[in-house]
């Protein structure tokens, strides 16, 4: 069994939600908010909300889409915003640009809806991330599997989803270590392809464990 020179360090992670001073009561105000809010706010309403609502696998992709559908009552805009896949982005700037463009285009095409009051306001928030070592590390695939099985939802989300931005790569902590740490590139790629929008964190984890087990049988 391959022993990695650098172990995988599992983290414990937790988030505070910081309430911002911006809110939107119309789609036009949402457009302005998307332009002015912090990067941390874009991150919170897209990446982080996916982790917080991982158990919703239908029609829930990000907070902007959910608000457009449920509160602004614009299903078409909601559908459009929900189609964004955060795995396509390695920077918040690019994600913000696309969100802003989509909402801006919508306002231009449907000016009659742009200033209609929504049922509830949208409040821009930010996530404050705190991580500490979990005290769990893996040098082999077996130890790695045990760690994955043991990890909390938040820890799993941190390593699998939010890591993409940290790494500035279209991959995640797990795949990066599997490929770079113990040379299992194919397994790393398969794990990276698991659809996080149509799976819960639990079903994603289960799929990952199945892929790891398949690999262990080969070794």
């Amino acid at each position: 069994m391959t022993i990695a020179p650098t172990p995988f360090e599992f983290s414990a992670v937790s988030y505070l939600t910081r309430i911002g001073n911006q809110s939107a009561g119309t789609i036009e105000e949402l457009r302005q908010g998307l332009q002015q809010c912090s990067d941390a706010s874009i991150f919170f309403h897209t990446f982080q909300t996916l982790g917080a609502h991982h158990f919703l696998t239908e029609n829930f992709s990000n907070d902007f889409a959910q608000w457009a559908m449920a509160d602004a009552n614009r299903n078409d805009l909601g559908e459009l915003l929900a189609s964004l896949d955060i795995r396509d982005y390695v920077s918040i700037a690019a994600l913000r640009e696309d969100l802003f463009r989509m909402v801006g285009d919508y306002c231009a095409v449907y000016p009659e809806f742009a200033n209609q009051a929504a049922l509830e306001r949208f409040y821009f928030c930010e996530g404050v991330e705190v991580t500490v070592p979990l005290g769990l590390r893996a040098r082999t695939l077996d130890e790695f599997r045990q760690g994955i099985e043991h990890l909390s939802h938040a820890g799993f989300y941190f390593h699998f989803i939010s890591s993409r931005l940290r790494l500035q790569l279209q991959t995640n902590d797990f795949s990066q270590w599997l490929a770079g740490g113990i040379g299992l590139q194919t397994l790393a790629d398969s794990i990276n392809k698991i659809d996080i929008y149509t799976n819960t964190l639990e079903s994603t984890r289960a799929k990952m464990l199945r892929l790891i087990d398949r690999e262990r049988r080969k070794l």
Partner: protein, 408 residues
């Protein structure tokens, strides 16, 4: 006055519900805070949501190794008259505050400053009553945060202007919903209230006990049961719930249970109860149950026996009864007020309504589509598990203290 810890449920018990990983994570987050001192201060040791949450939270924090204590400020009748008036005014009720009111408030806070230790590294002050204790803050690097459990979205300006002079000196503040917050010069964090899944109000119940409660109140388990659990208070709109039920009743042979307390010791509650009984008009399928102030097992049983749980409030604080119902995997139809939309994500974890007719329609929809109702209930349960349990609350506090300790 320091408050002792009465009930203790070990963290391991929660692992059964949440998984070992979640508990391991709590312990890991607590590790850098072991032995560091925390002081919680509020104005009552019994009754009310804050005391209930602290009673549950402190033993868990202690088990994680935190040196945590809970102090209750003291005050005379004049102080609590003023703070009750402040409370109502902050919720938007008309109130003309006098210079004497502010002086009474300051005097009692000054007295408590001398009596309470207020010497912990992290001091958490709950609600407006003890907010002026911030004057006791020493320069030794202690961190003070203010936890506001009430809705400040439309406060009486005079009262808020007075309180804000104290609030602005804290290192941070916490609110139950973004809607409840103010524009402040200090960081504002979202801190949800929480339920304890192992408390009598939320624990698993034996089917025989649930059945006996239904028998006691003459509720037919064979027909759909719509339930609203709330005080007899106009802001909970019990009469509106009856109107919604009557619309639903045209299509479904259902029953309505309105269960709550508040009528025995509250003159206004007694008036509202009469209004409700009048609106019920002796309909044998409307059960108006006046429960004792603390009947957690009965509430639990009624929620578990319900087909749909309703919370048709006109105004609401956070509305934790919604989380209680969702935890029990019940489909919920609720008004989009206060903290309810945080718990009920429309069409994902429940259905929101904005009128009597809207509530009736959503109830009919769920009674017609039990598979959708079940799915909403399941998602609602997960939502509560991730966000509104006492263990999540502890995690939020640990995160806050770690964040403050890191100087942010």
């Amino acid at each position: 006055m320091e408050t002792g810890i009465s009930s203790r449920i070990p963290l391991e018990e929660y692992a059964r519900l949440l998984g070992e990983g979640e508990i391991e994570e709590l312990r890991a987050l607590a590790k850098p805070l072991r032995g560091r001192s925390i002081e919680m201060v509020n104005s009552t040791s019994v009754g009310g949501g804050v005391a209930e949450i602290l009673t549950r939270l402190l033993p868990l924090a202690e088990e994680c190794g935190l040196d945590i204590k809970w102090d209750v400020m003291t005050g005379g009748e004049d102080f609590f008259e003023v703070t009750k008036a402040f409370h109502n005014a902050l919720h938007g009720a008309p109130y003309h505050a006098t210079a004497r009111d502010f002086q009474v408030f300051r005097d009692y806070n000054e007295r408590n400053r001398r009596q309470l230790p207020l010497d912990a590294e992290f001091v958490v002050i709950h609600d407006p009553q003890p907010v002026a204790l911030i004057d006791a803050r020493k320069k030794s690097g202690s961190r003070w945060v203010w936890r506001c459990h009430i809705d400040l979205s439309h406060p009486n300006q005079t009262v808020w202007d007075f309180l804000e002079t104290f609030v602005a000196r804290y290192d941070g503040s916490m609110f139950s919903s973004p809607e409840f917050a103010r524009k402040l010069p200090i960081p504002q964090y979202l801190f949800y209230p929480a339920i304890d899944p192992l408390s009598e109000k939320n624990c698993e119940l034996d089917a025989g006990f649930v059945s006996s409660v239904l028998t006691r109140y003459r509720i037919d388990p064979q027909r759909p049961i719509l339930t609203q659990i709330s005080r007899f208070d106009r802001l909970k709109d019990p009469v509106g719930v009856i109107r919604a039920y009557r619309i639903v009743k045209r299509y479904f042979d259902c029953q309505l249970v309105l269960a709550g307390g508040g009528a025995a010791d509250d003159p206004e509650g007694a008036v509202v109860l009469k209004e409700v009984l009048r609106a019920a008009d002796s309909d044998p399928d409307i059960k108006v149950l006046e429960l004792p102030a603390w009947a957690p097992l009965e509430v639990n049983a009624l929620q578990r026996a319900s087909t749909i749980v309703i919370q048709k409030s006109l105004r609401e604080g956070f509305g934790l009864t919604v989380s209680e119902a969702l935890w029990k995997k019940k489909p919920v139809v609720a008004s989009a007020v206060g903290g309810i939309p945080v718990q009920v994500i429309h069409k994902q974890t429940g259905l929101l309504a904005h009128s009597v007719e809207g509530a009736a329609y959503q109830i009919r929809f769920l009674l017609s589509h039990p598979e959708i109702a079940a799915k909403l209930g399941e998602s609602g349960h997960q939502h509560v598990k991730e966000n509104f349990l006492i263990t999540q609350k502890l995690k939020r506090y640990l995160t806050l203290f770690l964040n403050l300790a890191n100087g942010r």
